[in-house]
């Protein structure tokens, strides 16, 4: 688990421990470069997460693990958003490892921001990360920004507009919702990630 700040680190760790995993929380580039599997949680905003990754020299470490060694990585919430090219929130460049931009969800009468609560997932295609997760099952979301659906989108959700709820491209994956707080659906997603072996 990459320690890029944020208050949900403990709850993500506990969710993994409930599944029998023993995650290590670290900011050490050497540990991250050598990891077998990586999670990048994040809450708050994209800019502080990117600042921590850059200041601690974690970007080259993540790149080494993900691209040179093919290690699976799952970004959660802001940790997913920073995988994209750019976020409107604070006008910050992300890692750019997934094509696309993160934009603010629309504000409209009857449509509240942040998008906070349980909302339905709509799978777009079969994927090992979606094993056992059916269309319409709900996950817990808390966010005001989201990536548009694209070629890498495995499942969408809708709040004012459709957005990417789960993405994967080769060994890179991201979820906009919080699997650590999404009941059985979230536990299933994390369990799927823990045994995911991308080709």
């Amino acid at each position: 688990m990459v320690d890029a700040g944020g208050a949900n680190l403990g709850s993500v760790r506990a969710a993994l421990e409930r599944l029998g995993a023993t995650p290590e929380l670290t900011r050490d580039p050497a540990r991250i470069a050598a990891a077998e599997r990586l999670l990048l949680p994040g809450v708050g905003a994209a800019a502080p997460v990117m600042a921590i990754l850059r200041e601690h020299g974690l970007v080259p470490a993540l790149r080494e693990a993900v691209f040179a060694r093919g290690v699976p990585l799952l970004g959660i919430c802001i940790g997913m958003q920073v995988l994209f090219e750019h976020s409107e929130e604070g006008a910050v460049d992300g890692l750019g490892w997934l094509p696309g931009r993160v934009r603010r969800l629309p504000a409209a009468p009857g449509l509240r921001l942040p998008h906070m609560g349980w909302n339905a997932l709509q799978p777009r295609r079969e994927h090992p990360l979606l094993d056992g997760i059916a269309a319409g099952q709900q996950a817990y979301f808390v966010h005001s920004y989201a990536a548009d659906p694209g070629a890498d989108t495995l499942a969408t959700c809708s709040h004012g507009r459709e957005f990417a709820a789960l993405v994967a491209r080769a060994n890179l994956a991201g979820v906009q919702f919080h699997p650590e707080r999404s009941g059985a659906v979230g536990a299933r997603l994390l369990a799927n990630f823990l045994r995911w072996s991308p080709a």
């Binding site: 208050a7 609560g117 709900q138």
Partner: protein
């Protein structure tokens, strides 16, 4: 489509859940972890833990139980009571709470809302507002509501305060309508409608739930995002799975656990 949320509120004192909201004689209801899991299993969408000893007694929430609950729970939860500054909020959030709810400290020091939003993001910052309709017909906020002897009017109009805290960065508002609280005669629909009209962040109704139809009414007529209740859940008067069946039968989107 976003589901409407059902939120049981558990009063916590000395590491135990107690019954008797705003009454003096508190009955022990059990260990926090046990009740948290029971409500999770029943299909609660979120939990609020209210540390009732914290604010009137001038001490802050101890974080050990927050950590234990966080490690167990796989649904979101909020901690209220005794959070009077950034450092207390940090301790509670880092112990695993998804949100903190502030009430009296925000009235004393409105800049705290801005500070918490800047530090942790608006999504973590819940504003609890205790509100009463005064004899002149205006809704006004109350502080120190945890202790009837110390409760006082702040002179602030509720609708002004709702607007102000959103500008300052509150990510959610829990409106506790004190006039209907504990009476079980239904939520205060007119007040919630008035607040809804000026509230663009999620709004949680609190105070007055007594029957499943009260939940139907508050979602339909006041368009709130969530409904919070305590005694009807704790006494078993309403079971959450039955409540969700009822809401669903009335065309209200809910999560089925």
């Amino acid at each position: 489509m976003l589901s409407r949320r059902i939120i049981p509120c558990l009063d916590v004192r000395g590491g135990r859940v107690v019954k008797g909201v705003r009454f003096r004689d508190h009955v022990d209801m059990g260990a926090i972890e046990e009740l948290a899991l029971r409500y999770r299993d029943a299909g609660a969408d979120e939990l609020v833990f209210y540390d009732i000893g914290a604010s009137p007694e001038g001490r802050a929430v101890d974080v050990d139980w927050v950590r234990r609950v966080s490690d167990l729970l796989d649904i979101p939860f909020c901690v209220a009571g005794g959070i009077d500054g950034v450092e207390r909020a940090r301790a509670v959030l880092h112990a695993g709470a998804d949100k903190v709810s502030i009430n009296t400290p925000a009235l004393q020091q409105p800049g705290l809302v801005d500070a918490l939003a800047a530090e942790f993001g608006s999504q973590c910052v819940v504003l609890g507002i205790d509100s009463v309709r005064d004899p002149d017909g205006e809704w006004r906020v109350r502080s120190y509501t945890g202790d009837p002897a110390r409760t006082r009017s702040e002179g602030r109009r509720t609708l002004d305060w709702v607007r102000e805290v959103q500008q300052r960065g509150a990510g959610e508002i829990v409106l506790n309508c004190m006039g209907s609280d504990g009476v079980r005669a239904g939520y205060d629909i007119p007040q919630l409608q008035a607040v809804r009209a000026v509230c663009t962040v999620p709004l949680v109704a609190s105070g007055g739930a007594g029957a499943p139809d009260h939940f139907v009414a508050v979602f339909r007529e006041a368009d709130v995002d969530a409904a919070l209740a305590a005694s009807v859940f704790h006494t078993g008067a309403i079971a959450i799975p039955d409540l969700k069946d009822h809401l669903s039968a009335h065309g209200i989107e809910v999560r089925r656990a």
